[in-house]
Amino acid sequence: MTAATVEAPKAPEAENRRIAPVSWKSAVTLGVVTALFAVLLLVAPHAGDARFALSTSGDFFIIPVIVVPAMGTAWGCLVLAALAAVGAGLFTARGLRTPAWVPGVAAFAILLGFLSWAAAGSPRDLSIVGLLSGAVLLSVPLVYGALGGVLSERAGIVNIAIEGQLLAGAFTAAIVGSLTDSPYAGALAAVLAGMLVSLVLGLFTITYHVNQVIVGVVLNVLVIGLTSFLYSQVLVPDAATLNTTTRFPRVGIPLLENIPVIGPVLFDQTIIVYLMFVAVGLVWFALFRTRWGLRVRAVGEHPLAADTVGIDVVRTRYNALLWAGAVAGLGGAFYTVVSLSQFNREMTAGAGFIALAAVIFGKWHPVRAALAGLLFGFASNLQSVLSVVGSPVPSQFMLMVPYVVTILAVAGLVGRSRPPAAEGIPYVKG
């Protein structure tokens, strides 16, 4: 060894001086949203009380209906949100990172204020339980679809075909569920159908190196075409035997289901919903805690590096993709053996694309993607609940709510998200 045995510095930046980052994004977003809400309250004030119902009949104890003066509450919430916005501004000005609870408080205040405003003067109770449980149900296919998206994209395969996987799952579950009279068989068949779509996606993208976006887009069209064709040619003529399923029953979890608010929302559901919660955890665990997940992520980030350590890139990608199809297919089963007892043409109606958005929104992380799906479900049900309570906003604008909320959340709070590095690039061996 040479004389100069100077110890190389270890990670030099570690001891570097730090100056705080200055990002005004969350402060500005909060300010803008608060201002918009203020404008709403000024332009369209609403007299009367707002009534919130928290309990359902099966609860351990009954929380009485909460009645609040609507405008007072709304203004109070506005002040709270404004304070949060100012707080975020102060944090930023002081060069501190705005803690997550600040936008949290603001979001909650605005939501509550908006609910009060919208429900003002209505004689009807706004059921919080209904709002939340509907949100969970609306998000089920989105969450499954998003998990499928996360699984395949983590392995480096862009999954535009979630819509096709959901639809194929829904269709197969309907036929098999009807023929066997068993929702379990239907769900299993849906899993296989989702895997079949994945297999085709894999064949073209992994084996034949076709552009992943093309294949995804086209597979959606193909599945829509095939299921619609079979629906009109096979299911409709013989609906009684081929398109009438038994649905999964709801199975309440004893005791837990009687807890007010969260009991009926979380613990009185069908097995597919419970499985969804389990699946979120499992996908997270599998991706980040197991050998399988490490290899899947390696293949999605740097397939050549994975290859150089002896990982079979092609097999790993197929494997992840098949799991993705299985999960998304199961989500499709929700349509025909949980929600309804039959299949209808194009019944997924774009849910796969919303799920795709949730994948990106959730930054390719299973838990965050699931939360994004839940947020979307919540916003959808919010519009529905408010229209029932009798909101003053035209129905078309209420129907926009989930989409606008998503845009605001992505632009204002999430920002740039980085996909797995090798996503979309076929792996061709030298």
């Binding site: 075409g225 040619q233 990106i360 078309q396 606008v404 999430v414």
Partner: protein, 419 residues
């Protein structure tokens, strides 16, 4: 060490074999193979639905010839109907009627080409525009509103104004996604998907509201017809629906070609699309390029929307005026390799399917989902030449030794070395 040994002692003996091999490994043979494969699958589906085939197959074993005859009838009938409906109607009495299908094809192709270009331009700038639906709806709303709402303007002026309004509306709707991406990093895929829904409900609201888009006096969510002075004139005479929108689409093809290949802006789009980091280092304003690219993309999709309400659907429209073109445009753009000429060809192919699909349904009772299936299979197979080659046992291009790129490079180097 350069070219393989076979070049020297390959005799001139078999020119034919060489020629055949070259033909067999050409790209268009793959395209033909793809179409044949897709048509085969479609045939199975047609046979499956055809009553004649079903009836004959019941007694297949006692008289199989019937089944085959029925099969032939059904499949031949369906595909000849597809041809009759999209290219040339040999059953027509007059020549004008006979070529009507071709004009229909071009008519259907018009918005597909324009919107396909919109998706392609975004693609080249590294952006995935799934928002065609929303952009078309907004464009149709704006062009339609000018087209029936503005009174007293003379013909070309009114039309021009309506066109500009439509293109601008499409551009703005896509521009929102571009701006958000540039400013906040919000992923354009999310934003464009969401804007589709927002656009749909917004347009539906306007259609439901008297004084906005809804026809006065009507209770239905539908607009009044487009004023004569704002309509795109017929291109080849009153009898054909084909209108000047097709010419606009062709101009857009040329324009996009120029934009992408000959203009500074297009160069910047492509640089940003291929390598945004290098583009930034080279002084290109990436956020600006992103925003402008989305504006262009939306404007082109807007042209599709405007040409629909000013040319094809002039009797007033409702909230389904986008007709799925926003999504078909993605396939068209991808099939066309995101290049203007490819988009033109793919747009016409898809237009032909749409035009022929109707005739297939009408005269043979073939459900038009089959067209969807055949269409998507063609795209899949065309995109995967190795698969098609494997199925038809076509030779792989480059199995024959040709003096290749590397050879020349090496040769150059060698010269340099020996010099």
């Amino acid at each position: 060490m350069t070219a393989g040994p076979d070049t020297e002692h390959e005799p001139t003996q078999d020119r034919w074999a060489t020629a055949l091999q070259e033909i067999a490994s050409a790209r268009w043979t793959v395209a033909v193979g793809a179409v044949v494969l897709a048509v085969l699958v479609g045939s199975v589906m047609i046979a499956f639905t055809d009553e004649g085939v079903q009836e004959a197959s019941v007694y297949f074993f006692s008289r199989p010839s019937d089944t085959f005859a029925a099969l032939g009838d059904a499949i031949g009938g369906a595909y000849s109907a597809l041809f009759r409906g999209s290219v040339y109607n040999n059953r027509a009495e007059t020549f004008a009627q006979a070529i009507r299908p071709l004009t229909e094809t071009l008519n259907y192709a018009t918005p597909l080409i324009a919107a396909g270009l919109g998706v392609a331009v975004a693609f080249r700038a590294g952006l995935f525009n799934i928002g065609g639906q929303g952009q078309m709806l907004l464009a149709a709303a704006a062009a339609g509103w000018v087209g029936f709402g503005v009174k007293g303007l003379p013909f070309p002026l009114h039309l021009l104004l309506a066109l500009v309004a439509g293109i601008a509306a499409g551009a703005v709707w896509a521009g929102i996604a571009g701006l958000l991406k540039a400013r906040t990093g919000a992923h354009e895929v999310i934003v464009t998907i969401m804007l589709n829904y927002v656009g749909f409900y917004l347009v539906f609201y306007m259609l439901s509201t008297p004084g906005l888009l809804r026809a006065p006096g009507s209770a239905n969510p539908k607009t009044p017809p487009t004023a004569e002075s704002a309509q795109l004139p017929h291109l080849v005479g009153e009898r054909f629906t084909l209108h000047w929108g097709f010419v606009l689409a062709l101009l857009a093809v040329v324009g996009v070609w120029w934009l992408l290949n000959r203009s500074s802006l297009g160069f910047q789009f492509r640089a940003v699309g291929q390598n945004p980091r290098a583009a930034r280092v080279a002084g290109i304003d990436v956020p600006r390029a992103t925003t402008i690219a989305m504006l262009f993309a939306g404007g082109l999709v807007g042209l599709a929307g405007a040409s629909q309400v000013l040319g094809s659907v002039t009797n007033g429209f409702s909230s389904d005026i986008d007709a799925g073109i926003g999504f078909d445009a993605i396939t068209v753009a991808l099939l066309g390799g995101s290049g203007p000429w490819g988009v033109l060809a793919a747009g016409i192919l898809f237009g032909a399917f749409k035009a022929g699909g109707s005739t297939m349904q009408v005269s043979e009772g073939v459900p038009d989902e089959i067209v969807l299936v055949v269409q998507s299979l063609i795209v899949l197979f065309i995109a995967a030449p190795p698969l098609v080659r494997a199925i038809f046992r076509l030779p792989h291009p480059g199995t024959r030794k040709r003096p290749g790129a590397g050879d020349r490079r090496r040769a150059a180097k060698k010269k340099e070395v020996t010099a």
